[in-house]
Symmetry: C2
Subunit: 390 residues, 2 copies
């Protein structure tokens, strides 16, 4: 038998008490959590089932799989209808569910179990809660960042003349995995898909993709049209590497750009500007509106005459940064219409990138934790453009 | 500019006309498709947006991203509310949506756009349609099967004495990717997670996982508790390899078992029995109830005195096979309470596996296409237990 909760008691209590403050403020009598990312957040493990959290009293862990878990409040069920028996007469008046990610049919089925109550959307509440990381979460993100950095420092050694973007990506995948990268790229919602990350070179960097990532790429097949397309890395082109940093269940997001041969001035300038934008924005302190950060970055790009290439060229991304943690698309979102305000404990990836037609993408991405006096970088691989040996 | 539909005209017409027959039989005036797997099925590409299919008249392709697509019925939108303008006065009375996979909030938002109409669940209809593959789909699955087979034939050469399960898996990942494996393991619904496949050895094969796969494994981290756990492959244990066969957007599913040192009789017998069950079940013809196939396999395991180890030991899977195609969990399901009936054109993975405590998992998995006179195997790597060189 194994304990259902892998978090230490203090950490579990901290996360639960913060959640209950939010539940009270939002008018939730109870919430029912079933998304893997939220289950992992609340217990330190993924299981198949539901966590029922009343505004007071003990949480109930309804487990379908795996077998062999135990601990206070653990109840094995085969189907959601069985939850009613455990909750019994203490049915909540208002129940929160993760309506932004739970399929419609699942919600309707569970509504029947909680017959009398009002349904509310708990997705925003959980997203907000998870956007402010605890010290233990930050420690896991830091650990991922250190492994991520180790892999990135080795990338120049993985390059062999004549390689394709795919061949380089596969070498990075291999090294990452051997260093303990879990591979899984958790993204909230199921319309975003990506396998392990993105390596873009030359023209391919300018191919629009259907996914809402900062950069695109045509991909290897129209069933997964994003990322490397098998092009040989040519002299006079850049190679942007944005590979998965999920080493602990918590991810860091990091991009570095490499180059082969002679790179034109505009691209070198754009790369330097990306570093400057990161450096400038990382001085932001709690209370800064996310949209101001976006505007500041956009203005720096425009002032340098590089606005046309900022965050894409043929197709542009609508943001320059995003929260990261268990999933890669967490809050806050650093975008023009964002209403998010920077908070201490946010962990944010900033990725002010440029696509230079024909040559490729340039720029960097770092993951930062927001502290009272500014942002601390957790992805400390060298930022300058690094040339591959020809 | 690129055409929105990558299928050839005849193939597109075939898929659409079959879908409309099902829509008519099910009483749908129109359906609105937004799931990546279904968008890929209907057009041959993934895009972000919706496909609106009225029971008669042309389909409308509402595209958010990527930019640059064109063709009859292509309409760019920024948000779903804009769909109303294009559909205008031809609002359907009953609209089908993929309610089993679309988040509750998304459905509620779209319901407002289609104000006056009755909402119906189109998920079963689309699952059934996709369970009967066209010749073009079967050709893509065959192509994946051939690449998959090539990789599996090389596995013994990838093994090096002293390797861990992870190190072997990483070598298989690398070879698969260099042969064009897209990596993405498409699974309907977002509660199932797996990175590229599963390599299980020794005790780890008996660790229950939260996911509804045939086999478990503890995994590398409680955030993704499935598959290899970093154990060294020891003499006297088996190594079950069940790695991703997505080379074309259509997957094959294949498992083979390898071994190191001396393997006990019971495990050898169980492996042979798995081969016999596959061989026996592959004689099934259209019209066979899926649950009869399950019962036949279960009886063969029980008759051999191996029922206790069949489909898991500490935790058992509730099925021995499943449809496969764009996603890995398609119809039919070969399970005790399945109501599915085998149809010509189904593509099915059969995986009668055994977990032998301490030693590991044994058995095979093949992907078959169901033909009028039986099932044709599309994954033709050698089935016998193959010993790694010590």
């Amino acid at each position: 038998m194994e304990p259902i909760i892998l978090l230490n008691e203090k950490e579990y209590d901290l996360r639960l008490s913060r959640l209950r403050e939010r539940m009270e403020a939002g008018g939730f009598d109870a919430i029912l959590v079933s998304d893997n990312a939220n289950i992992y957040y609340l217990t330190g493990r993924v299981f198949s089932g539901y966590i029922y959290i009343p505004s007071s009293g003990e949480a109930i862990f309804f487990v379908k799989r795996p077998s062999g878990l135990e601990g206070d409040g653990t109840v094995y069920i085969r189907k959601p209808e069985q939850m009613g028996e455990s909750i019994g007469l203490n049915m909540p008046q208002t129940l929160g569910m993760e309506l932004d990610v739970t399929p419609w049919s699942t919600v309707e089925r569970i509504k029947v179990v909680f017959d009398m109550c009002e349904l509310k959307n708990a997705s925003p509440l959980l997203r907000e809660q998870r956007s402010v990381k605890t010290d233990e979460e930050i420690a896991l993100i830091k650990k991922s960042g250190m492994k991520h950095e180790y892999v990135y420092r080795h990338i120049p050694k993985l390059y062999v003349a004549g390689m394709s973007d795919l061949e380089l990506q596969v070498e990075i995948e291999k090294l990452s995995r051997l260093e303990g990268c879990l591979g899984q790229f958790r993204i909230s919602g199921d319309s975003m898909e990506l396998y392990m990350g993105n390596v873009l070179t030359g023209d391919n960097a300018d191919i629009p993709s259907p996914y809402d990532f900062a950069m695109g790429g045509g991909g290897l097949d129209p069933s997964l049209p994003v990322g490397c397309d098998g092009s040989v890395i040519k002299p006079g082109s850049t190679v942007m590497v944005d590979m998965n940093g999920n080493y602990t269940g918590y991810m860091t997001d990091m991009t570095r750009t490499f180059a082969l041969g002679t790179i034109e001035r505009m691209a070198l300038d754009a790369h330097e500007l990306s570093i400057s934008i990161c450096s400038e924005l990382s001085k932001c302190i709690p209370g800064t509106p996310a949209k101001e950060m976006y505007e500041r970055a956009k203005k720096m790009a425009d002032d340098a005459g590089l606005g046309n290439y900022f965050m894409g060229h043929m197709q542009k991304a609508g943001f320059i940064g995003h929260g990261v943690g268990i999933e890669v698309n967490e809050l806050p979102v650093i975008a023009p219409r964002s209403k998010d305000i920077l908070q201490s404990g946010n962990v944010i990836a900033l990725e002010p990138k440029f696509v230079i037609p024909k040559m490729g993408a340039v720029g960097i991405e770092n993951t930062y934790v927001v502290r009272e006096n500014g942002m601390e970088c957790l992805t400390n691989a060298p930022e300058e453009l690094i040339y591959f040996s020809e």
